[in-house]
Symmetry: C2
Subunit: 222 residues, 2 copies
C-alpha cells in the first residue's frame, strides 16, 4: 500500500513514517508544503531505518504530489490546518483513496490542557467536511505520544481508537494501525464519536504532567 503523510515532517508524521517503514512493506510518501523539506525528512527517515537494517522506501514531495501518489492520505498537520490541507490536495484524491485524520485540538491554561470541540463537533469532523464526497475519512492515531511513536526503541503496547462512517475504510485503516507492532486498533463507532477520542489527548498530557515517572503516555482499554 502507498501511504502519504501530509505534514509528514512533523512529529506525528515522523513517528508513523518510521513505524510503518520499520514494521511493514508499505511505501511511505512524506508530504509537506515545502517539497525540499519533504525530501530532507524522507531522506532522514530512510537513513534511520537503514541504520537499523531496514531497507524501506521513503520519498518526499509537495503535499498535492504526495497525495497523488498514495491510496492512504494521513493528514498529520495541526488542527487549524486540517481543512485547508485537505482542500489543497482534493484534486489529487480519487475514489478508493482514504483520508486518515489524527489531529486533535487542545488549549493550555494554568490548570493544564483542555479540549474545546470546534463548532463542527471534532477536528475529525472538520476533516470529513473538507473531504471530497467520494473519499471516506477515518479518524485514528489521535492519542499517540509523538515522541514515543518516533522512538523505535520504545515499545508501544497501547491502543488506538478508530472511527468512521464507512465500514470498509475503517477496517482498512484498523489493519494499517495493527501493522504497527504493539498497536491495537479498537473500533469506537462512527465519526460522530470522535470528540470523546480527541478529548483523551489533553487528559494524557495532564496525567503525564502530574505523575512522576509517567511521560509519553498511551492508553490501554482493558
Amino acid at each position: 500500500m502507498r501511504i502519504a503523510l501530509l505534514g509528514g515532517t512533523g512529529e506525528i508524521g515522523e513517528g508513523l513514517a518510521l513505524r510503518w517503514g520499520h514494521d511493514t512493506d508499505h511505501d511511505i510518501v512524506i508530504g509537506s508544503r515545502d517539497p525540499e523539506k519533504a525530501r530532507e525528512a524522507a531522506n532522514d527517515y530512510e537513513t534511520e531505518l537503514a541504520d537499523r537494517g531496514v531497507d524501506a522506501k521513503v520519498t518526499g514531495f509537495e503535499n498535492t504530489m504526495a497525495a497523488d501518489r498514495a491510496d492512504m492520505v494521513v493528514v498529520a498537520v495541526p488542527p487549524y490546518h486540517v481543512a485547508d490541507t485537505i482542500e489543497a490536495v482534493a484534486g489529487s484524491l480519487a475514489e478508493g483513496d482514504i483520508i486518515i485524520s489524527p489531529a486533535t485540538g487542545m488549549q493550555r491554561d494554568e490548570d493544564g490542557f483542555h479540549y474545546h470541540p470546534p463548532d463542527a463537533g471534532s477536528v475529525t469532523a472538520i476533516a470529513a467536511a473538507a473531504a471530497p464526497d467520494e473519499v471516506p475519512v477515518v479518524g485514528a492515531f489521535h492519542n499517540l505520544a509523538a515522541g514515543r511513536l518516533a522512538d523505535l526503541d520504545s515499545d508501544l503496547g497501547i491502543d488506538t481508537l478508530v472511527v468512521a462512517d464507512d465500514g470498509d475504510a475503517k477496517a482498512t485503516v484498523s489493519g494499517l494501525a495493527e501493522d504497527i507492532e504493539g498497536l491495537r486498533a479498537l473500533d469506537a463507532g462512527g465519526l460522530a464519536n470522535a470528540a470523546e477520542i480527541e478529548s483523551l489527548t489533553p487528559l494524557l498530557i495532564n496525567v503525564a504532567m502530574n505523575n512522576d515517572g509517567l511521560h509519553d503516555l498511551g492508553v490501554r482499554f482493558d
Copy 2:
C-alpha cells in the same frame, strides 16, 4: 476511616462498598433518600462479604444521617442529583470531611454515547459549587464500570484519575482508591481538568459496544 456512599444503593455505590468492605477495614455507611432501602442494601452487602469470609461493618441510613457519620462522603448519585444531594446533606458536613464526586453525565444518540459538559464545566465542578466552602471536593472513580466493580471475582488492574484543588484531600482520596486491590490512582491535576476525565466514560462504553469480547472496560495509562 468512615466512608458514606450517598446513593449507595446504586451500582457504583454497591461496587465501591463491596470493594472497600472486602479490601479494607474502613467502616462503610450506605446512604439513600429512603432509609429502609439503605438498610436493605447495607445488609445485602454485609451478607455478600460474609459469604466471602469477610466480617465487614456496613450500615445504612438516610443520606443526611449517613453523611453525618462519615469523614469521606461519596456522592454516588446520577449527575442531575449531585447538587441537590450535596445541598441536602451540607448541614451534616464539617471541616475535615471530604466530598468525593464520581458522577459523569452523558447522552445516548444513534451513534453512541456522548459527553456534553454542563455549563459549570463538568459534573465534578457542579459538586464543588454545591459543597460548603470548608469541605474540599475531589473528583475520582468516574471511569469505573459499575458491574465489574461490584463483581468481586473480577480483577481490576486499571486506573482511576483523581482531580482536586486541595492537595491534602487529593492525596487522601488517592490513598482510599489504592486501598482497592488492582486500582491505581493517577493525579490528573485540579478540578478544572475534570471534563476530560468525565468524557472518557462514554468513550469506554462506545468502545465496548463496538468490539466483540470487550465489556465493562476500564483504562490503563502506560
